[in-house]
Amino acid sequence: MSAIALSDRQGRAASTGMWLFIASIVMFYGALFSGYVLLRAGSTVWETPWRTGLAAEWPIAVDHWFRTMWLGIAVMQSRRLSGTGVPVAGLPRFSWVIALAGTAFVWRCADIAGWLASRGLVPATSVPLACWYVLTGTVALLVAGGTIAAVWVALEPVPAVQRARRGAMLQRYWLLMFVLWITTVGGLYLV
């Protein structure tokens, strides 16, 4: 295998691996989300803080859209990295933008969880709250992982071809996060 062919193979392997990883996460999140749907469909009352008046105290739904925007910005930024195999000089900068958005997202999630918990609304309180914590927490965890990956891409000095490929992988992952978060917001608050 010549050097160029090897690079092609690495790109193909990376791309395949990323799609498989995404499929795996989709199944994981799908299991949690379908659990949520089944529990909600099977229950007679479904009381959430934002349905019983508490939301007036804190515009939770608005806040979530705010967070969604953060993620959106991150994804938009990463979209500019399009084109595998092409060296992207500005990749570290974009990685930092993604990392910043991710950190803000995780911080907002922790903040709201803390706010709920301080009012005695913990996972054990009710199944709706337990679902809120698990779904939000899972996305936050996945976003945290993506943030770490972004920092890694920004910091590790690797050849330009490889860096561009990592940027493209990062972008795919963050698109997935975007989709997961829209699903979560929609499923938890809008339906």
Binding site: A13, T16, G17, L20, S24, M27, A31, L32, L39, V127
Partner: protein, 548 residues
């Protein structure tokens, strides 16, 4: 650690570790088989080994018995057979069979192994916790599993880690096959074993996350006091449970079996792959209707994801829904029959060499067949009702996995041992191992079908001593236990053979004159696998030249 980034070292590490867990799982079984054969009779020295809390006066307590049963299943499936079939054989032979220098993501592969090792040690160590290891069966149905002692928490953490481990390994394996095939090695020239490994990896990737999701829910129920699987109004020993309620215990079963049914195919598909390799080489035949078999293995894998609720026919689900799952279940028999027919018809016109590897591979076929046909009554509502949760079920899935997959694993070891070590296993000892295992395995598992038909339930601490209908079967249990002991003795022969032959066995490069790509390099393969990168010009099984 660095050495593990080499796929051969990784494969050997998986093989050794899963081999140890296989012995652990086997010993757990011997312990509870003692209790089944002689309920309440003290085991000499048991108190000294397991302590007063588990075996006072040498008598196994139910607390301990149910740990043994739950952990036998968990260890054998998650820590022994799958890591052996996928981790060891897949990591070692898939890169070789596709002419690749290694795995696409060596670090992922190594991380996967270390995660598996940590999960295994954690689960094994849970026996020392107060209350011991998990004791709610390998199926861990809530609410029972949520009320269980802390060993269950460790079990759940272990399952989460194993999910991560198999995901890492599977990604690495599939990406390797997609990107690193030798020039000329098209998809339809891949050895069947590679196809089976890819399908297995995909199943692990797509099905295991469902169990991980379920494990997250159950972990929350146990640790954070949530009620995902706990309905309202639960009272244990007439004391109301202090939880919010509002959950659904059946949700676990759906998520669990969504993994656990494909998991059965994870146990079976690599075995089919091995058998295909061994039969072709030792009968000097190309795989008969290779394309159809590839189609069947893909269909079988995909279809395995829509049959899960046949494990739940008696939960009270609607008749329409349960009929749907009965129909999908029957449809599984089509690709299964294609595979098993193709494997046997491959022998037609061949020149069968009765090596130990071939004996094990051939014995796999009827054993798997027996496991398969006993799946028929279990997949249909009325007959499932009669047999559900009886020993019939135990007989059924053990025929698939124990004389089934295990025999295929033995075939793989006898077949590929020269590839790994450059030496052959001793054939005479191998024959003793084969005949002994074959007889003992059947003597252990065949009576279980009859016990099940007679209505003897599984998971009985006293083997059914309390039940009238189990009375005639009590006398069978000692025989089954002695055969299990004999089975263990024959495995000692095997272990001796492996250790001895690795040092002093007859040197061999390619003793079977096999034509698949792993034999195109030296035995054992050098670092980087192939001195000159191979170029492929035809199918994997080129035995036609030998035709008379």
């Amino acid at each position: 650690m660095r050495a593990l980034t080499d796929h051969k070292t990784l494969g050997i590490a998986y093989a050794n570790t899963s081999g140890v867990f296989m012995v652990v799982g086997f010993l757990l079984m011997l312990l509870f088989r003692w209790q089944l054969a002689w309920p309440g009779q003290p085991i000499p020295i048991a108190t000294a080994i397991f302590g007063e809390t588990n075996a006072p006066g040498g008598i196994l307590l139910p607390e301990f018995y149910y740990q043994l049963v739950a952990m036998h299943g968990s260890v054998m499936i998650f820590l022994a057979v799958v890591p052996m079939a996928v981790g060891a054989l897949g990591s070692y032979f898939v890169p070789l069979q596709i002419g690749a220098p290694g795995l696409a993501f060596p670090r992922l592969g190594a991380a996967g192994f270390l995660t598996y090792l940590a999960a295994g040690l954690l689960m094994a160590a849970s026996f020392v916790l107060p209350g011991g290891a998990a004791n709610s069966g390998w199926t861990s149905y809530p609410p029972l599993a949520i009320l269980a002692s802390s060993g269950q928490t460790v079990w759940l953490v272990g399952i989460l880690m194993l999910g991560v481990s198999s995901m890492l390994g599977a990604i690495s394996l599939v990406a390797t096959v997609v990107a690193y095939r030798a020039p000329g090695l098209t998809l339809m020239r891949l050895p069947f074993f590679v196809w089976s490994q890819v399908m297995t990896a995909l199943l692990l990737l797509l099905a295991f996350p469902a169990l991980q999701g379920a494990a997250v829910f159950q972990l929350m129920d146990r640790v954070a006091g949530t009620s995902f699987f706990l309905p309202s109004g639960l009272a244990v020993s007439n004391t109301p449970l202090a939880v919010s309620g509002g959950g659904n215990p059946l949700l676990w079963q759906h998520l669990f079996w969504f993994l656990a049914h494909p998991e059965v195919y994870v146990l079976i598909l690599p075995a089919m792959g091995v058998v295909a390799e061994v039969i072709t080489a030792h009968a000097r035949r190309a795989l008969w209707r290779y394309g159809l078999m590839v189609g069947a293995v893909v269909a079988l894998g995909a279809w395995s994801m829509v049959v899960w609720a046949h494990h739940m026919l008696l939960t009270g689900m609607s008749t329409t829904l349960s009929s749907f799952f009965q129909i999908t279940t029957m449809a599984v028999s089509v690709p299964s029959v294609i595979l098993i027919t193709s494997l046997v018809v491959t022998l037609w016109g061949g020149a069968i060499r009765y090596t130990t590897a071939m004996c094990f591979a051939l014995a796999f076929l009827p054993m798997f067949g027996l496991g398969g046909v006993t799946g028929l009554p279990l997949g249909l509502g009325p007959s499932n009702l009669i047999l559900h949760d009886t020993y019939y079920v135990i007989g059924h899935f053990h025929y698939l996995v124990a004389p089934g997959t295990m025999f295929a694993l033995f075939a793989a070891i006898y077949h590929w041992f020269p590839k790994i070590t450059g030496r052959r296993l001793n054939e005479r000892l191998g024959l003793v191992h084969f005949i002994g295992s074959f007889v003992a395995m059947n003597a252990v598992f065949l009576p279980m079908f009859l016990m099940g038909i007679m209505g003897v339930n599984r998971r009985m601490y006293d083997a059914g001593l309390q039940y009238q209908l189990a009375e005639p079967t009590l006398a069978w249990n000692p025989h089954m236990t002695w055969n299990a002991v004999a089975l263990g003795v024959f495995q000692l022969v095997f272990l001796f053979n492996v250790v001895w032959s690795a040092k002093r066995g007859e040197p061999a490069e390619n003793p079977w004159q096999a034509t698949t790509l792993e034999w195109a390099t030296t035995s054992p393969p050098p670092a980087g696998n192939f001195a000159t990168p191979p170029v492929v010009t035809g199918g994997p099984y080129r035995y036609e030249e030998e035709r008379a």
